[in-house]
């Protein structure tokens, strides 16, 4: 239909006389082609390459298989979301977990084949898993959070069976193997391109693929477009609907919006937040808004540096912020709030992130300022990165205004992404806002990554002996009730000590023409094309 309309227009008007006429062959497959437009670019076909973009992660999910992956469920808003509690086989037909939770036996699908037609064997699985722990890549740092650190943990039982062992019963051992880093390569193909300096063929795999996934790569132009073609011999799951997928980089957000609205493009997940409600109102597109339940936006204090090493001062700031106003002004309430809970002392459940008992109370804030030893207030800077300016700018303005009322004079600092990353890593910023995301949304994983240790993600550089001990314990705790108890305690300590102020979980807005169906919010926040179809 779309094609006819364009043809008719083109016939009438001279400017369009070129280029729009006559491509019936292309039009027939248009319905079976999905065109995603994004502001960012795919920079590698190997998601484990340092510097991979999120869009590259999304593409890799579709061209490679993992042994296992997460299922999906209906989310709170009616749309689909990934479900970390369901683990289904992709290349594995069946996974046996030993009673002690330390040994996993993967039985491979016997008919699974790589794109070049060779069967997927235990040898490929072993080589790939070895690569993920041994090569210098993003995978190694991720999988060690599940207890995978050395190649000796993976053994070949027979050509179709692989066994993997962890030293301690780690709750995240299996979920880690579901993540998009743990892809299975065609080891013969990869090895033929390995060199002495590059034993894991990392150089070659940046621009070539050796996988078994639902799609093969037809065109890969970094920074421009990636075109995928369906692998009709795929055995990892039900055959996806779309035969062809185009992921195109369109830097201008307004252009992406009009492409979707005109039906020339089929999906965008990174439109400008302010455009989205208008688009939805006009009713020509479908909007799937999902609170990103594995992400959170926070205001972080540097707990290792004066003045915010003072817990009273942090509590004072937490009592001074106008949460609801910020939520409205910065996010247009498009998300799930993480403030305003009614519990005191200990939370009612161990889920995280969950709303914390944060509320505005200026009286209390002023009292706390005096208790903190700053009756005359103080000066500080509040930093955010340019990339997040759309929400961070109004947020910063309200932080500045509200803290002014309790005597804290805030200077706002807006920094380019590369610069703020450097300063955050060097732990030099006193007070900042960030949005973070965890692929594996379990409470101990959040606390381990964001509230302990020296890495960049511990934005508040928090180092609390009780939390450190609780994290270590919870990680290996297989008893659900005991795990819940440990998690509740961690959340209670966080609420009391306020190393960060939790604000909200922003929505992800996926916009598509009315006919596109099945969009699923994934842990990697990218598009899994295998979920989608045209109704």
């Amino acid at each position: 239909m779309d094609f006819r309309r364009r043809d008719m227009m083109a016939g009438g008007i001279a400017l369009a006389s070129s280029g729009l006429l006559g491509r019936p062959a292309a039009a027939q497959s248009r319905a079976e082609t999905l065109r995603q437009v994004t502001g960012n670019s795919v920079n590698t076909l190997d998601p484990t390459m340092p510097g991979s973009t999120r869009e590259a992660f999304g593409i890799s999910v579709n061209i490679y298989d993992r042994l296992v992956s997460f299922g999906r469920k209906q989310g709170s808003n009616g749309g689909w979301v990934f479900d970390p509690d369901i683990i289904k086989g992709e290349l594995a037909e069946k996974v046996d977990t030993s009673a002690d939770g330390m040994t996993f036996t993967f039985h491979l699908k016997r008919d699974a084949k790589f794109h070049d037609g060779t069967p997927v064997t235990a040898e490929d699985v072993k080589w790939s898993l070895d690569r993920h722990v041994a090569a210098r890549s993003l995978a190694a740092v991720q999988v060690q959070t599940g207890g995978w650190t050395k190649p000796e943990q993976f053994t070949i039982i027979d050509p179709h069976t692989v066994q993997a062992k962890v030293d301690k019963p780690d709750r995240l051992a299996l979920p880690n193997l579901c993540t998009l880093y743990c892809i299975i390569f065609n080891s013969k193909q990869a090895k033929s391109h390995a060199t002495a300096q590059d034993p894991w063929a990392q150089e070659w795999l940046k621009t070539n693929t050796a996988g078994s996934g639902a799609y093969t790569v037809e065109v890969f132009k970094p920074g421009e477009q990636v075109i995928l073609r369906r692998n009709d011999a795929w055995k990892g799951g039900p055959l996806p609907y779309f035969r062809r997928v185009i992921c195109q980089t369109i830097p201008e957000a307004a252009t992406r919006a009009s492409l979707i609205e005109k039906g020339d493009a089929d999906l965008s997940i990174d439109l400008q937040a302010s455009d989205v409600p208008t688009l939805a109102q006009r009713g020509r597109v479908k909007l799937v808004s999902t609170p990103q339940f594995n992400a959170f936006t926070m205001v972080a204090f540097n707990t290792q540096m004066a003045p915010f090493n003072n817990v009273k001062l942090r509590q004072a700031v937490a009592a001074a912020l106008p949460y609801q106003d910020i939520f409205k002004a910065a996010l247009f309430e498009r998300g799930a709030p993480l403030f305003g809970a009614s519990w005191r002392g200990s939370p009612t459940n161990g889920k995280f992130p969950q709303p914390l008992p944060l509320a505005t109370n200026l009286e209390r804030a002023r009292a706390l300022m005096a208790e903190a030893g700053h009756p005359n207030g103080l000066d500080t800077t509040f930093s955010f990165n340019v990339g997040s300016a759309a929400t961070s700018e109004p947020l910063a303005a309200l932080v500045k205004e509200s803290l002014g009322r309790i005597g804290i004079r805030v200077e706002i600092q807006k920094l380019p992404d590369a610069q703020i990353s450097t300063l955050v890593t060097e732990k030099k910023l006193p007070f900042l806002t960030e949005t973070s995301i965890a692929w594996l949304p379990s409470t101990d994983y959040f606390f381990r990554n964001f509230f302990t240790g020296a890495q960049r993600w511990n934005y508040s550089s928090w180092n609390n002996a009780e939390i450190n001990a609780l994290c270590e314990k919870a990680r290996y705790e297989l008893n659900a009730a005991e795990y819940e108890r440990l998690c509740k305690r961690m959340i209670a300590v966080l609420a009391e000590e306020v190393p960060v102020i939790m604000l909200w979980q922003p929505n992800q807005d996926a916009v598509m023409p009315l006919g596109v169906d099945g969009y699923t919010y994934q842990y990697h926040r990218q598009v899994d094309y295998r979920d989608l179809k045209r109704a």
Partner: protein, 328 residues
């Protein structure tokens, strides 16, 4: 040859400038949970940033001497490959826009000079002022809104060729040339129609210097002795203006054309961004924002080379326009 010292200066200057800028690329590119010192250090080593700056500079110069410009962290490709892929896109757009601008600017400038202070003259002045005043991203977005979104006559403004059309085999990288060589007229049409809006946007912006320069230079020439002589000898007005006057008036126009061309190539980043044009300028901007040193350095070197080449070409064109000028 004479430009070698200048090029060397440009290379060293950009190299140092990039390193003075705040922001550590290694930190930026290291991500993931537990991305600690070890991972950042590994990337630093990979990018060669662990060495002292003088050593980095010497290595960089050595690499340039061997035709290597380093690797872009952002695209994962060698910078030479990226630039080679993207330069034809920028050149094709710039050439088309320049041609378009010249085709409009010369007649308009001549017309305005022939009838100074007439309605035509004022009209040209208005058009030029508008073209210069409206930033390219505004005019670009307006064009898109009017011709794509509202009227639906332009193809979607996304790159060099309709995404659903088949791409002609790459020979020169210039899609129009490649498609014509392959005899694939469907692709040619597609590429040409994608080119119309961005080329118009750019042409509008550079119309002013070209038209104004033509007008000024024509005005000076039209009052000179040889034109009066020509008129007195009874030559047709057409012959006097187009053959004798125009040729003499062209020298400053050619000079300004060289400058306009170099500026367009580097400064059209906004047009490239608005129209998703995969050119060199948007590539360099992305790299700059990510503190990705190699592509920015490569881009500046490329621009310097092109500037030198264009200057040489302009000098040669002088000779054609005015035989009294010779390039020694």
């Amino acid at each position: 040859m004479a430009s070698a010292p200048a090029l060397f200066g440009v290379v060293v200057f950009t190299f140092l400038l990039m390193r003075v800028l705040p922001g550590d690329p290694a930190v930026f590119f290291a991500s993931g949970p537990n991305a600690g010192e070890a991972e950042i250090q590994a990337i630093r080593v990979q990018m060669g940033l662990d060495k002292p700056i003088p050593e980095q500079l010497v290595r960089y110069l050595w690499d340039i001497g061997h035709g290597r410009l380093g690797r872009s962290m952002g695209t994962g490709q060698p910078v030479t490959v990226d630039l080679a892929n993207r330069l034809p896109a920028s050149l094709e757009l710039t050439f088309t826009a320049l041609l378009l601008a010249l085709c409009c600017a010369l007649p308009l400038g001549i017309g305005a000079a022939l009838a100074p202070n007439s309605l035509l003259d004022h009209g040209v002045r208005l058009l030029c002022t508008l073209g210069v005043c409206v930033p390219t991203f505004v005019s670009g977005l307006l064009f898109i809104y009017a011709f794509y979104y509202l009227a639906g006559v332009a193809p979607d403004p996304t790159g060099r060729i309709d995404i659903f059309a088949s791409q002609p085999p790459t020979l020169t990288g210039f899609l129009l040339v490649d498609a014509a060589l392959a005899g694939d007229w469907e692709a040619w049409h597609s590429a040409a129609s994608q080119l119309v809006l961005p080329a118009c946007t750019m042409a509008l912006f550079v119309l002013a210097p070209l038209a104004r320069m033509t007008r000024a230079s024509m005005l000076a020439v039209l009052t000179s002795d040889f034109v009066r002589t020509g008129d007195a000898l009874g030559l047709s007005r057409r012959r006097v203006v187009l053959v004798y006057a125009l040729r003499n008036a062209l020298l400053p126009v050619i000079t300004i054309m060289g400058i306009v061309f170099s500026t367009m190539l580097g400064a059209n980043v906004l047009v490239e961004k608005v129209f998703s044009w995969p050119g060199v300028a948007s590539y360099a901007l992305d790299a700059l924002l990510a503190s990705d040193y190699a592509p920015v350095q490569g881009f500046v070197l490329l621009m310097a080379l092109i500037f030198v080449a264009v200057n040489l070409l302009v000098d040669l064109l002088y000779g054609l326009a005015d035989p009294r000028v010779s390039v020694a």
